[in-house]
Amino acid sequence: MITGNIDQAQGDLWITTFGAKSFEDGGILLTPRERHQALATQGVANVIPLVVAFAEWRKPGGGSSRVVVVGADAEDGGLAPWNLVQGTWEDIKAPEGIGIDRTYFSELGIGGMGATAQIAQGRVRVRALTDGVRSFTQSPYAFTTLNRARSLLGVEGERATFYLVQTEPGANPELIRDELRQRLESAEVLTKAEFRDRSLKQWLFRTGAGIALIGGALLGILVGTVIVAQTLYSSTKDHLNEFATLRALGSSSGYIHKVILTQAGLSAVFGYLLGMAIAILIVAASQGSALPIVMTPALAFGLFVLTLFMCAISALSAIVKVTKIDPATVFSR
């Protein structure tokens, strides 16, 4: 979701202004000079201009919101709205046309297809709808043509926020990136992976939303660990006599640790299954919302490993408690 546009863009390299933080926050504009310099570089097949910027959306019924205007010509083969469920690119090209995701009607204060509103300096009409093209920033994407985006945002001439570079077949994008870095003194050149990584880091680690998300996750891990630790500790405390009996029978420390870690492992498995069942319900319920939750198999596996690790850490307090057991207590019951 955070890098959806970068992932969908058909290009190997991104030319940005220095310090561009993310796809949505590209900073000041590039000039046609950078485009021409890039086009003159060996191995470069095409350089596609994109105009992307936050803009005010004035709702038809009053009030305003923010959108991210994405201006690109689909004919250039660089970036076009995907998952179109109503309308086509040709409809977007029609006067005042834009495409938005259908989950944002309420956010944008409109009723659906054909609704009109104002973005920054111009009037727009919703002529196409996408499905599942959500924005991490909570400002919906408004897809339109390159020139209409320039017009709405007041971009002069042929300036652009990004240039998307397509290399010739067989060319090494990293070598071309290095060559472009030499040529373009006033711009930054990043591979698709580098720009993706930068956008992710910007939103996840340098913004309040990202920090809140990560903070929430860390808090969840902490709370989960403490709860499991408390459960295991109190369970162990309740069964100290049994552990003392095991010690008296000659069990090694390793055997006792194995017993406690097995309990922790069972807690992890049952807790994970319960948590995952709830998570799947939430994931399903969030699919129609503006902020859908994604659960991939790799993420599910990673969470299982994390849960096992959390429970193993949680077992430490119980292990420490058992380590202090005096087996002589078996004779004092």
Binding site: R247, A248, G250, S251, Y255, V330, F331, R333
Partner: protein
Amino acid sequence: MKAGVQKMAAEPVLEAKDVVKELGQGAAKVVALKGVSLSLIPGELTLLMGPSGSGKTTLLSILGCILSSTSGSVEIRGVPITGLSPEELAEVRRKNLGFIFQSYNLFPTLSALENVRIALDVRGETGYPAAARAEEVLRDVGLSNRMRNYPGNLSGGEQQRVAVARAIVTSPAIVLADEPTAALDSENGHAVMALLSRIAKEQNRSVLAVTHDPRTLSYADRVIKIEDGLIVGEDRRPPGIDGPHITDLTKRRKAHA
């Protein structure tokens, strides 16, 4: 079942010499054992008797490698255990000792069979052979039809027999019992003592039971009396005599001045 052996000729499996145990520190220090020496030989059921606070349980804990003595020495099958680490002591217990506790100390969430198997599991013996061995021992103590029952569904006498089975399933040379009849009625108390006597003789094990219970005297091959941390008397059943014999401790002696 093996035949009994000539006890007097056997080598001791456990030998304690001049065992002293101090508990607490400073003004609260108590000398629980003041120099105790004894040995246990295979095929004998020995009773350790004495009033509360005489040091019986402390001595049992030291002989069972659960407590360390302050001074003196203990050897199990010729191997000194003095100075061993807790892990090494656990290994000695695992390989040589079986325990029977006053309150049975069974695991309430495990069946009788599982309670016996756990002693084998602790030794790393698992799977079908362990299960078969546990079943065999439970049958031997008369619980063939109670193997799947949980402790909560067993009588006190049955629970103690499960505890006996758990103590002997690993074939230890020494079985230590702490007040094995204290929680049992007369009938079950006699049954458990008869079982311990049989284990000593037929399986050639050395059984030491700490007890207050005079009903147990008739099953003993030897009775040791302890008072104030000292062994003050010992009586032994004469060879060749079966049935109740020891009724009084006539050969009193002071072990240490």
